[in-house]
Amino acid sequence: MKMDIAVTVNGRKYQEIVEPRLLLSDFLRETLGLTGTHVGCEHGICGACTVLVNGDSVRSCLTLAVRANGAEITTVEGLGTPEALNELQHQFREKHGLQCGFCTPGMLITGMDLLKKYPLASDAEIREGLSGNLCRCTGYQNIVAAIRAVVDQQDGNAS
């Protein structure tokens, strides 16, 4: 069985024919060639494949590509460019929030959703928010610090 789907990824429209069993993670990487989205555990535990679907963070390995028909998707490629990083990416660089980089796309996308939905008043709240994303290098300290820096900056701008 094959199905037509139309999705917008990072502002660009795609129309593809896919099998219903194709995961959104594989659709992004294999069909569209957007390899910024990483695939770790493939059963929703590690968070590396997290992308934004209509603005909400979602595990792309737990989403069938056909379910994204008509949706707007943002992957790590859509956050910023190497020349113009977005603020969260910039703070990941400033605070040394990554080492090997495997978990980073998922951390960034999760971070974007956390910043949008929660006050993140305490570091404990940031840690709870990141509990669904595994990192085996950093010990998380610098990832928390990077998100903290963005929160502080937003609070500074607001007051």
Partner: protein, 291 residues
């Protein structure tokens, strides 16, 4: 770690979804948020010939206050419950529990109907349904029926749904007279499945408990109301003695199994400690003090 091939339909109404399941002759599977089913597909532990996706059926995602109940559509996502003002105002135990349901990315997709249908014994929504005495409304080839939550869950990952029945909404009674409540959970990692979890709510008359409601999960094959524990709270006053006696009854009422995470004894002791804490918090809330 890729699903085996299956056919896929995304019907526009419940009747067509049921017809598609009947047509699949027992080999069809309903997908709601897909957060429990997709891992099973990826592992090929589930190999249905047909996926019936409810995603495109309109009108199944809502949270409505109707008299003394909150009615929730089956496709309502966990994140919708987490951020709902109606839930915060009328089902405070649910509001407190929602951040513990998996992680944000899962809550953005997972649905209440899906969680109840999956019936994980360590999941929050089945336990909340049992705690509140919710009514689970389902539709199948023979029509609609209403199932009390306590009769819905049969054993671990198993409920009384017929293969072609679909949950379409859930009705939660508002416990208006219960002014004190608490929700306590411990998991290995915040958002993981619970090692032990308890919900308590209390009604006080003259600083004495006049009504109580207690439910636990993670410590048996299904979430459970603990009526014996509720009974010993009726007529009791606040304080350490009541809390300890309550914890003792809760510990004695459950029969957790050993598993790869922790031993049976650990879970039993944990639920006792959480019970003590939950009673004290609920009582403090009921007398109007900050816990």
């Amino acid at each position: 770690m890729k699903p085996a091939a299956f056919d896929y339909v995304a019907p526009r109404d419940l009747k067509s979804a049921i017809d598609a399941l009947v047509g699949a002759g027992g080999d069809g599977k309903v997908m709601a948020g897909g957060q429990s089913l997709t891992p099973l597909l990826n592992f090929r532990m589930a190999r249905p010939s047909l996926i019936v996706d409810l995603l495109r059926i309109p009108g199944l995602s809502f949270i409505e206050l109707r008299e003394n109940t909150v009615v929730i559509g089956a496709l309502t996502r966990h994140a919708d419950l987490e951020f709902s003002d109606v839930i915060a105002a009328h089902l405070p135990v649910m509001a407190a529990a929602m951040p513990h349901v998996a992680h944000l990315a899962i809550r953005n997709r997972g649905t209440i109907g899906g969680s109840l249908s999956h019936a994980d014994p360590a999941a929050e929504l089945p336990m909340l349904a049992v705690f509140y005495g919710a009514t689970i409304k389902v539709e199948g080839p023979a029509g609609r029926r209403e199932i009390p939550a306590e009769e819905f869950f049969v054993s671990a990952l198993s409920n009384c749904l017929e293969p072609e029945e679909i949950v379409f909404e859930i009705e939660f009674p508002v416990l208006t007279s219960h002014t004190g409540w608490a929700f306590e959970e411990v998991a290995r990692r915040f958002g993981d499945f619970a090692l032990g979890c308890i919900a308590v709510s209390l009604e006080l008359t003259d600083n004495t408990v006049s009504d109580a409601r207690v439910a636990v999960m993670g410590v048996d094959d299904t979430p459970r109301r603990l009526r014996e524990a509720e009974e010993i709270l009726r007529g009791a006053e606040g304080g350490a003695r009541t809390a300890l006696r309550f914890a003792q009854i809760v510990r004695a009422s459950v029969s957790p199994a050993d598993d790869i995470h922790v031993s049976s004894d650990y879970r039993r002791n944990l639920i006792g400690a959480l019970a003590e804490r939950a009673f004290n918090t609920a009582f403090a809330r009921a007398v109007g003090a900050k816990p």
